[in-house]
């Protein structure tokens, strides 16, 4: 078994129009820029994207939105230093938005990966975000029922990876990446380095290979924050 794949382009080649795509990262940290850019080149359209944010500047997720490939976005915080791409399309009615509280977003993704179709959370009870959702009382407190979130594809970014798909992450770039790995039918990971099997201490594996479909090495991966500071635009 060898899950490694040679290029981001090959890794994303099978993503169809209309797919639901989870994209890891919190702002720029942990964002799989090269995979997103490969998806732009690939050209799949009418995507539903799940991300914490809505892109920044004109690279990564913002560029994917700018190319008109995203019909719908599920996120917690569609703001950034430069959210103009999203804002423009949203105000023009060209992209639908589902706002999910950040912890609920994380837990819904985990639930999708863990086979939990629904759970209850205190978050958002009594707010307009909970409108229309089932409410139940446990031990005298009211909770909102939330549903799992799954995807056809997850695009994630890690630090080390091996041929079985075992992965580590780098500092706060971990964020949503390990969760999304569990919740997609096909999980595509870019890593800074592919190491031989056994090159990651079993105690230090964060994402066991069972959750990963393809691993592609992207040495010296771009950092969204740096790209935006240099006013990069993709493509």
């Amino acid at each position: 078994m060898d899950k490694t794949i040679q290029t981001p382009a090959e890794a994303v080649a099978a993503i169809p129009d209309g797919a639901t795509v989870m994209i890891g990262g919190f702002g720029g940290s942990g964002a799989p820029i090269e995979l997103i850019h490969a998806l732009i080149d690939h050209g799949a359209k009418h995507l539903t994207v799940v991300n914490n944010n809505a892109g920044n500047g004109h690279v990564g997720l913002a560029a994917l939105i700018e190319q008109g490939q995203v019909d719908r976005l599920i996120c917690s915080f569609p703001r950034s230093a430069d959210p103009s791409v999203f804002v423009e399309r949203y105000k023009a009615g060209k992209i639908a938005l589902e706002i999910v509280p950040q912890g609920t977003l994380a837990e819904r993704i985990r639930a999708g990966g863990a086979g939990i179709p629904a759970f209850y959370t205190p978050t958002a009870f009594g707010t307009e975000v909970a409108e229309g959702k089932p409410i139940a009382e446990f031990d005298g407190r009211s909770y909102v029922q939330e549903r799992w979130l799954k995807a056809d594809v997850a695009l994630i970014k890690g630090e080390l990876g091996d041929a079985h798909g075992n992965m580590t992450y780098r500092m706060a770039a971990r964020n949503f990446n390990p969760l999304m790995a569990t919740a997609a039918t096909t999980t595509i990971a870019q890593v800074s380095q592919i190491v031989p099997l056994g090159g990651i201490d079993p105690e230090h594996v964060i994402t066991p290979g069972i959750f990963v479909t393809h691993v592609v090495e992207v040495a010296n991966a771009a950092q969204e924050e740096e790209l935006n500071r240099s006013e990069a635009v993709y493509p």
């Binding site: 863990a114 075992n166 569990t182 079993p202 290979g209 069972i210």
Partner: protein, 229 residues
Amino acid sequence: MIDITDIKLSNAQIAWRAAQDIEDGAYVNLGIGFPEMVARFQPEGKQAIFHTENGVLDFGKAPAPGDEDWDLINAGKKAITLKPGTSFFHHADSFAMVRGGHLDLAVLGAYQVAQNGDLANWSTGKGDIPAVGGAMDLVQSAKRIAVLTDHVTKKGDPKLVATCTMPLTGVGCVTRVYSSLAVIDIENGHFVLREKVTGLSMDDLQSLTGAPLHTDGDVFDLTCPEELA
């Protein structure tokens, strides 16, 4: 009653037969006891990756006696070993793998399997102390559920039945049964016979089975290495 003593497969042969169906790279959980034997018979070039409920993936075989590390065990509390690719995780993550449908196959034993795929394997219902472990999680969530079992009980009663009479482990979950006499798929509420041991007639096999055996195309000979008998 037919005497099947000479034609029925040994446990090792049943485990061998089950092992032949496991694809290279499949993620597999083997139940405690008899199903664990499947790991011994993986065909050349087909390397399954084994999961154990207590938080280890991609582990190796048992260590030599005396080399055990009791912090490195499987769900049956038997010592296992590391290999390149092993990872550790906690119990909630382990069962996220299970419940989330990430395992390709779980292999379990059975008291009874019904034609609709219901499985009874955790309690005889006779007042023994209940003990379920991870079986109820596994059977509802792995992509395929294979059962290894004698075809009949020690008393000669069918273990493949119309309806389970013992407490259920899961409903409609079993996809294939590797018995001591046959390989049987469960499809659309029916037992569908795929293979049977040579020297056993269809009528005899049916007489040892508690619900109708259907066929769908050829029924092949169920042959296993003689040295495992």
